[in-house]
């Protein structure tokens, strides 16, 4: 009865009209530029993270390449960049489709990675299938057996959860052994992939090192108040406080800790501690706060990077993933300079070559970047790397952390 012809005809017409516009649009192109595409979360829940780390560095790199007259190819010629950017609206289905579009519709030469662990995993099979190298600078190494066999051209540059946990233990253990810390740890973590991954790595490492995990709680995304959790952490008598938290939570946790004069000897909140806004938001009183990441503040390359980032983009980068992302783009740039636009060859070069970046000379092991700052600490206005303790340019950890004021 409602099976009306006009409804059906209308629907058919709309379908036909819209679909014809999607076939056969990719035209052959003569080589006047190198097309680089990316899809990141410009809007939605992931936008705050993507706009802090991923997007600014993509833009900075594009400007740097343009200033240098383009990307250099093996024959010494230079081609300008053509950037195609899409918004995935923080939805995986949109991201997957955008990458399909970049690879098959726009036929870009290279695709830059999206923001976040989950989103990098979502597109890894696509990058593998379409044969694009994936330089994931905002994703911890996924816990998958045979990762590099499954996706041979995916590169994971932000370290594994085990590495973060062991680097933290390396900082803490000596202080526990010499009696500066009592060896008790209070840990809270956010209930999503990032928090679970890092906290389970830490749980194991703490136990192996003989540390006593006296508090181990998880809180949901969207938690606004940390007063009760910190009250409990303080009550637990732990000298070491570790939170695997997201930026909003990290700010709230820090503010609450300062307010309650909760000053454990080691205070280690999560992502956000490494953001430039962290220090001013706390009146600069962040001396001794530890977290993930870090930089070598004395390295001229890093100093130059910080200055250019601030000058060109009008804001400072974060001290964890930002330099890694920029370095990953330098790696891509140099691989193209050596191997040209053949994606297979570029992937192979990324896996085996050595690259000169703002993080120093880098090479990957098993498709992973392992030579990283895992743990950093605020010292004299910089978030400096303090672990791995044997890495060149390391700063000594300050334990116990000084008073908030």
């Amino acid at each position: 009865m409602d099976f009306t012809r006009r409804g059906l005809v209308a629907a058919t017409a709309v379908c036909a009209l819209t679909l014809t516009s999607f076939s056969g649009m990719a035209a052959a192109q003569d080589r006047t530029s190198i097309r680089i595409g990316y899809a990141v979360s410009k809007t939605g829940v992931n936008a705050a993270g993507a706009n802090t780390t991923t997007i600014p560095n993509y833009e900075l790199w594009a400007q740097d390449v343009e200033a240098a007259g383009g990307l250099t190819l093996p024959d010494g010629s230079k081609l300008p960049l053509e950037i195609i950017a899409y918004d995935d609206r923080s939805a995986t289905e949109d991201l997957v489709r955008s990458v399909e579009r970049l690879a098959r519709q726009d036929e870009v030469d290279f695709i830059l990675a999206p923001w976040g662990t989950g989103f990098n995993l979502a597109v890894a099979p696509l990058f593998a299938r379409f044969g694009y190298p994936q330089l994931a600078g905002t994703s911890v190494v996924p816990n998958i057996d045979g990762l590099s066999d499954r996706w041979p051209n995916s590169f994971w540059l932000l370290g594994s959860s085990e590495a973060y946990a062991h680097s933290l233990v390396d900082v803490l253990k000596p202080a526990v052994d010499n009696g500066a810390l009592n060896g008790k740890v209070a840990m809270i973590s956010i209930a999503d992939g990032f928090g679970i991954e890092l906290s389970s790595g830490a749980r194991e490492a703490f136990t192996d090192a003989g540390l006593d995990l006296v508090m181990d709680k998880t809180y949901p995304l969207g938690t606004q108040d940390f007063a009760t959790l910190l009250q409990e952490a303080e009550g637990s008598g732990a000298d070491i406080f570790v939170a695997y938290s997201y930026p909003g939570d990290t700010f709230a946790i820090t503010a609450q800790a300062k307010l309650a004069s909760y000053n454990p000897k080691v205070f280690h909140p999560g992502v956000g501690t490494n953001f430039p806004v962290y220090a001013p938001m706390n009146d600069g009183k962040v001396e001794g706060v530890m977290s993930l990441g870090g930089i070598d503040a004395n390295s001229p390359a890093i100093q130059d990077y910080l200055a250019r980032h601030a000058e060109i983009l009008g804001k400072a980068p974060d001290s964890w993933a930002s330099p890694v992302i920029y370095a990953s783009l330098q790696m891509l740039q140099q691989a193209i300079e050596r191997k040209g636009l053949d994606r297979e060859a570029v992937s192979a070069e990324l896996a085996s070559g050595t690259f000169d970046t703002i993080l120093g000379s880098l090479s990957l092991e098993d498709n992973q970047l392992k030579d990283l700052w895992y743990i950093g600490q605020w010292q004299n206005g910089n978030f400096v790397g303090i672990s791995p303790t044997d890495k060149a340019g390391v700063a000594d950890a300050v334990i116990p952390k000084p008073d908030w004021n």
Binding site: F3, G7, A10, G44, Y86, D94, R101, A191, D192, G195
Partner: protein, 309 residues
């Protein structure tokens, strides 16, 4: 006569849609999957909400349950069996929730359904973090984009056929009576609660299956990814744009809106949200009764002019 023509046209259209992936590339396949997914979601949503006029924001609760079932069972069961399990779970949840809530009316139901989606997400998150200690899950199912599209097309056909069958049958009369006035319907001997519950359950199962079928496209699943409330809102807007009271309304809303969203996201990635917002406002003011009602208006005007001549 008209009915036979309708069925024939429907079969031809289905066959044409099934053949579509052959002409276009892999990005086209992705677009088809997204479009077909929203056709299913909007049509399934309208299956319940159209005639009963209950505005539900629980779409993503069921969509997420479907996707999550796949994530949990992917390594243990064949895909077909997982779909069955997902459907059964969706049915169970829908019956449980439906029995408890369908006496709520108006905006109370709207907010309840939104709260339900959040509650499901929070409970799954808590269960995964505290009990199983594995929040993110990987899905490695060997299935191509085109196969996903065909499955969704099948689901869309089932959804539309069900709607058609309901409108044809006596159930349709009962359903419309409820939408017009529940009290009157009750007095007229309609089993109001039973009818509403049945519609809600069927609609929810279809939505659950849509989530389950699509999940293998994302490789990695966690609650914040699959319980994204935007999905509920977009489904609702698509169905309302086309007109949820008609069988083809949700399709007529989903297809153009989907392509519009896609176009905006690729063409104006930086003004995405602003343009979307303006489009919503424009829809309410320019197409108040749904897109398909424009055809009625246009026809009415056409016949009016003829009678003047």
């Amino acid at each position: 006569m008209s009915k036979q023509f309708g069925i024939l046209a429907f079969v031809v259209l289905t066959a044409a849609m099934a053949a579509l992936p052959f002409g276009i590339g892999e990005y086209g396949h992705g677009v088809l999957v997204g479009m077909m997914s929203y056709i299913v979601l909007a049509s399934a949503w309208a299956l319940f909400s159209g005639p009963t006029r209950y505005v539900s924001l629980a779409t993503v609760a069921f969509f997420g349950i479907g996707a999550y079932t796949v994530a949990v069972l992917a390594d243990h069961l064949p895909f077909g069996a997982i779909l069955v399990v997902a459907g059964v779970i969706g049915l169970g949840v829908a019956l449980l929730v439906g029995m408890a809530t369908l006496r709520l009316a108006g905006v109370y139901f709207v907010i309840f359904s939104f709260g339900l989606a959040e509650l499901v997400r929070q409970l799954i998150t808590w269960f995964e973090t505290s009990v199983t200690h594995t929040l993110g899950r990987y899905i490695f199912v060997e299935i191509t984009t085109v196969q996903i599209y065909w499955l969704l097309l099948g689901l869309a056909v089932i959804t539309l056929a069900l709607r058609w069958w309901i409108e044809q049958s006596r159930l349709g009369l009962a359903v419309h009576a409820i939408g017009d006035d529940e009290t009157v319907a009750r007095h007229a001997g309609v089993n109001v609660t039973g009818v509403k519950l049945a519609l809600f359950a069927v609609s929810s199962v279809l939505i659950t299956l849509a989530g389950a079928i699509q999940a293998p496209r994302w490789t990695y699943v966690e609650p914040s990814i699959v319980f994204n409330p935007t999905i509920s809102f977009i489904t609702l807007v698509m169905a309302l744009l086309g007109g949820p009271g008609r069988m083809w309304g949700p399709v007529a809303g989903a297809v153009p809106l989907y392509f519009l969203f896609e176009w905006i996201a690729t063409r104006f990635p930086d003004q995405n949200a602003v343009i979307l917002g303006l489009v919503f406002v424009a829809i309410v003011f320019l197409v108040p009764g749904g897109l398909l009602s424009l055809i009625d208006k246009w026809r009415a005007r056409g016949s009016g002019e003829q009678s003047h001549a």
